[in-house]
């Protein structure tokens, strides 16, 4: 059921099928696409995980979209229903089928274990009930009507990997509380080494959550921006600016064409840039930018604080002064903070952005599960990674994350680690915000991979434009709108994206300068150049070969 995360068996199958249909063989394809025959044979043999350059060249040569190569056939239409376990007695069968509609199904995975599937199932059953020995109070409990977590399926999925599905009865959880859901389920992860892959929440419990107050449709109606993705930019630098200069930068960026500007995640309230002054000036900048550009704008003010009361105080100030949006570091603040802030934002008409803190979500819960739970907790904008950095596997994982944020149907998608069908009960969709060093050259592939209902975070290329952030914002906006126009006319963005951008640059000098300045393919994130002598003076570097410490005085 669960495929390994680092394999792409469908790629080789799909490529062979399409090459057979079109009558190509490997040497023709390598001539047309520019990929060497040796690499092609390795990809077809399934031995290597190819990068995005090879995949886009091959897809352009075969004239198909990248998704039809990477994803298995018919994944959009498949629905895998969960079937209850086959039991021997009829009574068991009736009980099991009655309970399966109201059970919370959790898929655990144990990596690198010595257990057999049987032992693993018993281990997790005991861990879930939190009882390893029999206590005297067990005799006082009505065992006929009390229900406990039961493991249903346990199977070996790899060399030392076991996947176990456990069904929790719905009487263990509190209504309207994501915190109690996580607390009960991750109790089985303590000292067993298990991780949670996916949770299926049935309608019985799902109707007690309210979901995002705005979501995709609500934010589009509030700001009247239809038919295109939204642009966002995070302010930089994080220290050194006075509150008024900060707001000046926000004004310039919003006036140029960006829809949402965000406070940096690292900036909370320091004596040189305290939160009251900053919110004050920034709200004036937002209203001025709205006047000069005739569009509605938002600025996500950072309200992360150490106590929940302080967070609500800052959010109230932001609501009064008119920044229209609020952001929080969801990893550091925790699930209680996010839920209390979501309730406040619903009453005060603020948009809640759960950006930042993605490094803290690498714990026992997997990333698409965290995105799903943030959506149910009430966040309107959820940050996901970028599908373009790294290999084709990253693209599939990010697609799994965005699938858990869509409204209409959420079928199972095991390659993206979504194990169960999830009913939605009408809860609104959230915006995925993808970022990580993008510039205008990457927009065609981004829109091709993730669709129209996304927020593109391109703060580096907006504020790093040689002519200032006004021109940077205009350049990105022109590129975005030209691509959307071409997409509706029916062109293939992954293949023709470069030509569309270069045509659009003829009418816009800002875009032309941007396309020349950002050389194609360069990601602005995680770049270490040889000219950076900034902070390396005085660092003591330990050499692995030599046992002595290298000191600053000696010249080695």
């Amino acid at each position: 059921m669960a495929t390994k995360k680092d394999e792409l068996p469908q790629l080789a199958q799909n490529m062979r099928r399409i090459m057979g249909e079109m009558g190509f063989n490997a040497s023709d394809l390598s001539k047309k696409s520019g990929v060497s025959v040796a690499s092609l044979s390795r990809i077809l043999g399934g031995q290597v995980n190819p990068g995005i350059n090879h995949i886009s060249a091959i897809s352009k040569a075969l004239e198909v979209s990248i998704d039809s190569l990477v994803l298995p056939n018919g994944v959009h239409a498949v629905t895998q229903k969960y079937t209850p376990d086959d039991s021997t007695t009829k009574q068991h069968h009736e009980e099991a089928s009655l309970r399966s509609e109201t059970d919370i199904l959790v898929s655990f995975i144990l990596e690198d274990t010595d257990y057999t599937p049987n032992e693993a199932a018993r281990l997790l059953a005991n861990a879930a009930t939190a009882s390893w020995v029999h206590s005297w109070t067990q005799d006082l409990v009505d065992t006929e009507n009390a229900s406990y977590p039961k493991p249903t399926i346990a199977m070996q999925v790899g060399h030392r990997k076991i996947s176990v599905d456990v069904a929790f009865p719905e009487s263990l959880f509190e209504e309207g509380s994501i915190v109690s859901l996580i607390s009960v389920i991750t109790a089985s992860c303590t000292s067993t080494g298990a991780r949670v892959d996916d949770i299926r929440i049935p309608p019985v419990l799902l109707r007690t959550y309210s979901g995002p107050s705005f979501g995709v449709q609500g934010l589009r109606d509030k700001t009247q921006k239809y038919g295109r993705p939204l642009l966002s930019a995070t302010m930089r630098p994080i220290t050194g600016l006075s509150p008024r200069m900060f707001a000046n930068a926000v004004f310039e960026t919003l006036k140029g064409g960006v829809d949402i500007t965000c406070d940096p995640t690292l900036l909370h309230s320091v004596p040189s840039n305290n939160w009251r002054d900053r919110f004050n000036y920034v709200s004036e900048a937002v209203s001025d930018a709205q006047y000069y550009s005739d569009e509605l704008k938002l600025h996500a003010a950072n309200v992360t604080a150490s106590t929940v009361e302080e967070m609500l105080l800052r959010a109230e100030y932001a609501a009064e002064h008119g920044t229209h949006a609020v952001m929080v570091d969801s990893g550091a603040v925790g699930w209680s903070g996010v839920q209390s802030l979501a309730k406040f934002c619903q009453e005060n008409k603020l948009t809640l952005c759960a950006l930042g803190g993605r490094a803290l979500h690498n714990g026992p819960l997997s990333q698409q599960l965290v995105a799903k739970l943030l959506r149910f907790a009430g966040a309107d904008i959820v940050s996901v990674g970028s599908p373009l950095r790294g290999t084709a596997m990253a693209r599939r994982n990010v697609k799994g994350i965005t699938r858990s944020l869509e409204a209409h149907n959420m079928p199972a998608f095991p390659e993206g680690l979504i194990m169960f069908d999830q009913p939605t009960c009408g809860i609104q969709a959230s915006w995925p915000a993808c970022g990580g060093g993008h510039n205008a050259w990457h927009f065609p592939q981004l829109i091709d991979a993730l669709g129209n209902d996304i927020i593109i975070q391109c703060g580096g290329s907006t504020m790093g434009h040689p002519w200032g952030s006004l021109s940077g914002a205009t350049a990105n906006r022109v590129a975005l709108e030209a691509l959307i126009q071409a997409r509706i006319a029916g062109k293939n963005l992954a293949a023709d994206g470069r030509n569309i951008l270069q045509d659009a640059a003829k009418n816009s000098p800002e875009l032309k300068e941007a396309l020349q300045y950002w050389k194609e393919g360069a990601f602005l994130f995680g770049v270490i150049s040889n000219n950076d002598k900034a902070n390396l003076d005085g660092v003591i570097i330990k050499d692995k070969k030599k046992t002595k410490l290298k000191s600053i005085d000696t010249e080695d």
Partner: protein, 103 residues
């Protein structure tokens, strides 16, 4: 139409020689020059539009003069303001109206 704002507003409008002296001071003290313009009534809107200096060129008196004259030439009906921002104290050390609207 408003013709003055804050510093030096009680003196007659500055001549080009006085503006040059201020630009010398900005470059000597290593402040960051900022050129802004605005056409509307100032008391309502607090942020002015910026005329950016190009990146990658060394800061010199001729550059600042050239950009200032370009801004004045492009916006004849606007107030143009020259400021020098000091990153250490996070405040503008110099800020005055360089050109009033020419009607």
């Amino acid at each position: 139409m408003v013709e003055r704002f804050e510093t030096y507003s009680f003196l007659p409008p500055p001549s080009s020689k006085q503006i040059d002296e201020h630009i010398d001071y900005i470059i000597e003290q290593k402040l960051t020059p900022i050129i802004e313009y605005s056409e509307d009534i100032i008391s309502v809107y607090t942020f002015w539009h910026m005329w950016h200096l190009p990146k990658g060129m060394e800061l010199s008196k001729i550059l600042v003069q050239k950009m200032l004259n370009q801004c004045v030439h492009n916006n004849p009906m606007a107030l143009v303001r020259l400021s020098g921002y000091d990153p250490k104290s996070r405040c503008n050390q110099i800020s005055f109206i360089a050109k009033a609207p020419q009607e």
